[in-house]
């Protein structure tokens, strides 16, 4: 899983590239949590344009980051999920928690 980051006007965007499963979610989680601690931001955007596969491990990752971001007063958005990712996001209720753009 490839992770790149952009920070602009209090918006922290994390771009993910690859397959998001239990195996890859572990390092993605650690990387994002580190960023959340050391970067001042108001909005976390998870850009999933490059994510070619996601299962329930991705849902857990998103829900976990959402709780963390909320606890420090920020908000979160998901950007550019593919058709099949959108189906999983809808099924899991993530879509009701945050904006999908």
């Amino acid at each position: 899983m490839e992770i790149t980051v952009k920070q602009e006007n209090q918006i922290l965007t994390v771009f993910l590239k690859g397959e998001l499963d239990h195996h890859t979610a572990i390092s993605v989680k650690d990387t994002i949590d580190m960023l959340l601690v050391k970067t001042p931001f108001k909005v976390l955007v998870l850009d999933m344009a490059g994510v070619t596969f996601m299962d329930s491990s991705g849902i857990g990752l998103i829900a976990g980051r959402y709780n963390r971001v909320r606890s420090i007063g920020g908000s979160m958005k998901i950007a550019n999920p593919s058709f099949s990712l959108t189906r999983i996001l809808k099924m899991s209720g993530i879509e009701k928690l945050m904006k999908i753009i």
């Binding site: 979610a25 299962d55 857990g60 990752l61």
Partner: protein
């Protein structure tokens, strides 16, 4: 209907094998020329069952996961088996959002995804003996 092809693999309960297992399932199913969406559904369901075997069945300790794939003219049957801790209450375990491991950021969506993405799901389990998941996916449904 008679099976037209069959394969069985065994692998260690390591998270790196989650991608391996779903790629094997997709490659085998490709013989039936499924749509990309059907293949994506199959890969996701396999990933859920294998991840469950690793995280819950073997509780991230060493073990062996078995996967059997049986092709029929119009469908695939996937069986994923572990000899781990087993499921105490299958009915409860399959309720959407039920998870026994919230501390590992699990959200209890695995069985719901398997049910939604496949055409049938059967769960057999015994405490201390293990769990066997059998799922079927019909391709080119009209």
């Amino acid at each position: 209907m008679q099976p037209i092809n069959r394969t069985k693999i065994e692998f260690e309960s390591k998270s790196a094998n989650e991608a391996f297992a779903r790629l094997v399932a997709a490659a085998f199913a490709a013989q039936l020329d499924p749509t990309l969406e059907e293949l994506a559904d199959l890969k996701t369901a396999v990933s859920e069952a294998v991840t469950n075997a690793i995280i819950h069945g073997y509780e991230q300790k060493p073990g062996v996961v078995k996967m059997e794939l049986v092709l029929y003219p119009d469908s695939i049957e996937v069986t994923i088996e572990d000899q781990g801790v087993g499921i105490e209450d299958i009915e409860k375990a399959t309720i959407p959002t039920y998870t026994s491991k919230p501390e590992l950021e699990r959200t209890g969506m695995g069985f719901t995804i398997m049910q939604t993405f496949m055409d049938s799901l059967d769960v057999q389990s015994a405490m201390g003996e293990g769990t066997k998941i059998t799922m079927k996916k019909v391709f080119h449904k009209k």
